[in-house]
Symmetry: C2
DNA sequence: AGTCAACGGGAAATCGATTGAATCCTCTTT
DNA sequence: AAAGAGGATTCAATCGATTTCCCGTTGACT
């Protein structure tokens, strides 16, 4: 056999394969595979053998081929993470929570971004299945996507969690914040500051989140015997593009201002809406919080950076992400029977009032 | 042969394989594969055959197995996208640009998030190589990661682009904004508004971006024969965690205020720093822009949502992302020789001044 | 009639692992 | 001494495609 001279021409150093390790160690590929994977059979492999194989593999720098492995074993060690909108800070933080947990496990997240488009959601779910993810986490914002997700997935007996939206499905887990308690807390906060005339920028009627928050608000109002002014309660139209809620809220607040109905505080559906309201107040020459207190919902990162800081109801997004990942991991580590126990549960995380600069006591001397 | 009764026990409907299509169509697997892939050889396949095969494949709903395909063909149709920090809105928008382009191609982005940790960068680059991505885009913020990236990658002759950081590498492409022109434009804007006493929150000295922006600023100052006040020019310390630049800038601005040196405008290294400065001004009871104009850099999404809107230098992040993706795609579509032509170039995108509410004419009546 | 190229298509090797069944030892047990 | 019981490894099939050769027809041309 001629040994080819080492030249630049040799294009591929030919991947280091399991076979190479086998030959180098003197054992068969089977044994090497078994050892390197700590497969069940490896308990019958002599300790010295294991050591030697591991050593040689390490020394050679062997890395199994992901594709070959997945093809044969039908396991991919990947978890699909479908994010409805990666530019939405709400989604982003949840995603970070998910990753945090997954990084500690041996699973790799495959992240896809649906760009707020329902069609992409479907397409990407498909792609993830095609890539044989072993679990699926969907990070939802308020986009209403088709829940045919559900069918597709449960067909494949895939552990599935949705974060940020409560699906009433028997097979899909969900993690959401306690919207009702959040609404209640926000309202209570304003009430305690002395506000009685409060305007509301409610979420689109289509969103369950908004309805729940509203329910919390009403509960408090009833308890406090506070009558709400119907003229200051409007819902945003449902729009599929996130940033537009700023504009919608801005416009709505302007309408409130023009209506002449007095109010000293405003409670917004979420932080972005709060920004929109603040803009309207700002343009009208009103000061936050001096002339009008504003409360948001979510606590996206910038809310603590703007001035004044936005008082808001915090969703524990990181924790929600972590919980979701835990859910999947737990499910993957259990037997099929146990697994059924997990399905369809929905976890409710606590909402927390964060008081910052955008709310203040109602001024006793009120401009008429 | 007994035919097993159809029961719930049958766990897997057994994937539909190429072979099934072959049998159903009466042709061999080879032919089917060739036709379905539009492989070069398919030009010698009769049109009727193609039609029939395609029809049957479609009808059966055949989807090739990603893993088998990649194993054999050594192609994965994936592009690695390494994002330094997915919670950084700067990165996010670039990412979106990348995705936009990639969605139109047949390549799938594999997104990984390094969480601002240099170690993860290395680990993830490794993982991407292991997954045989055919190209790699790195979305950098200001994190200083080891450029051993470079070695690893160029070894593998992988088209590589870095967005947001100018690497001086002969093999890696980069896409950056025109920092110098941006600095110049920001300065010019303030000057034209009548500001002469300007404070600067400069970026960490380690970052080339900051140095370039500063260069632009000086160039304008010299041209306008404007003397800058050294006491109002400080750099932020280098920190590896993004949000902390808010605090650093906040602190620095406070020092400026306490120093007693007068200034009517402040130019910040980036938008987050601008937020920090605004907070300090706000706390000191100063109004933006009435008492002090503020200019940022980047134009992250919230900068248009806060009140007043932040005047800033826009980086065309979406376009930068798109350009990066185009770069990779072009490289993948060219022969090896052509490809070499692309390597090592760095593209400079235009910076754009965006005037919003945070800057205003210097007031003629100045508080002493 | 014979040669040759183009056309249409198929057989089988291959990619790099995993895995169920089989084999070969070495002791024990009866 | 034969049978059995494990322990330690290995054989060979398999996962589902792609790809490299190769084979048989035609038809044109010499």
């Amino acid at each position: 056999m001629m040994v080819k001279p080492m030249t630049k021409l040799r294009p591929r150093p030919r991947r280091l394969t399991l076979n190479d390790v086998a030959k180098a160690s003197g054992f068969s590929p089977s044994t090497v595979s078994i050892v390197l994977n700590d497969a069940p059979l490896s308990q019958n492999v002599a300790a010295t053998t294991k050591l030697k194989i591991r050593e040689i593999a390490e020394h050679l720098g062997y890395r199994p081929d992901v594709f070959a492995r997945s093809l044969r074993s039908r396991k991919t060690q990947t978890i699909g993470v479908l994010v409805i909108d990666l530019t939405d800070p709400y989604c982003t933080l949840i995603l970070q929570g998910i990753e945090r947990r997954l990084m500690q496990s041996s699973y790799l997240p495959i992240i896809m971004d649906a760009h707020n488009e329902p069609l992409q959601v479907e397409r990407y779910v498909d792609m993830m299945l095609e890539r044989r993810v072993e679990g699926l986490v969907t990070v939802a914002n308020w986009l209403l996507f088709d829940v045919s997700l559900l069918e597709n997935i449960s067909d494949h007996r895939l552990p599935t969690v949705v974060v940020g939206r409560d699906l009433e499905s028997p097979t899909i887990n969900s993690v959401i914040v306690d919207n009702e308690a959040g609404g209640y807390a926000a309202m209570e906060h304003l009430y305690e500051l002395g506000h009685r005339d409060i305007a509301f920028v409610c979420g689109p009627r289509q969103l369950i989140d908004g309805r729940l928050r509203w329910k919390g608000i009403r509960t408090f109002a009833q308890k406090a015997k506070l009558r709400l002014n119907r003229a200051l309660i409007q819902s945003l139209p449902y729009v599929s593009y996130a940033a537009s809620s700023f504009d919608a809220s801005h416009k709505l607040t302007n309408e409130y201002l023009e209506s002449g109905e007095p109010f000293t505080a405003l409670l917004a559906f979420d932080d972005i809406c709060a920004y929109g309201a603040i803009r309207a107040l700002f343009e009208a020459g009103l000061r936050v919080p001096d002339d009008c207190s504003v409360v948001g919902f979510d606590d996206i990162p910038t809310s603590s950076l703007i001035s004044p800081g936005l008082t808001t109801i915090r969703q524990p997004m990181l924790e929600m992400g972590e919980y979701a990942a835990d859910c999947i991991l737990k499910s993957l580590n259990s037997s099929d029977d146990e697994r059924d126990g997990f399905f369809g549960q929905s976890k409710i995380m606590p909402a927390e009032l964060l008081v910052r600069g955008s709310t203040a006591k109602r001024r006793t001397i009120q401009t008429p």
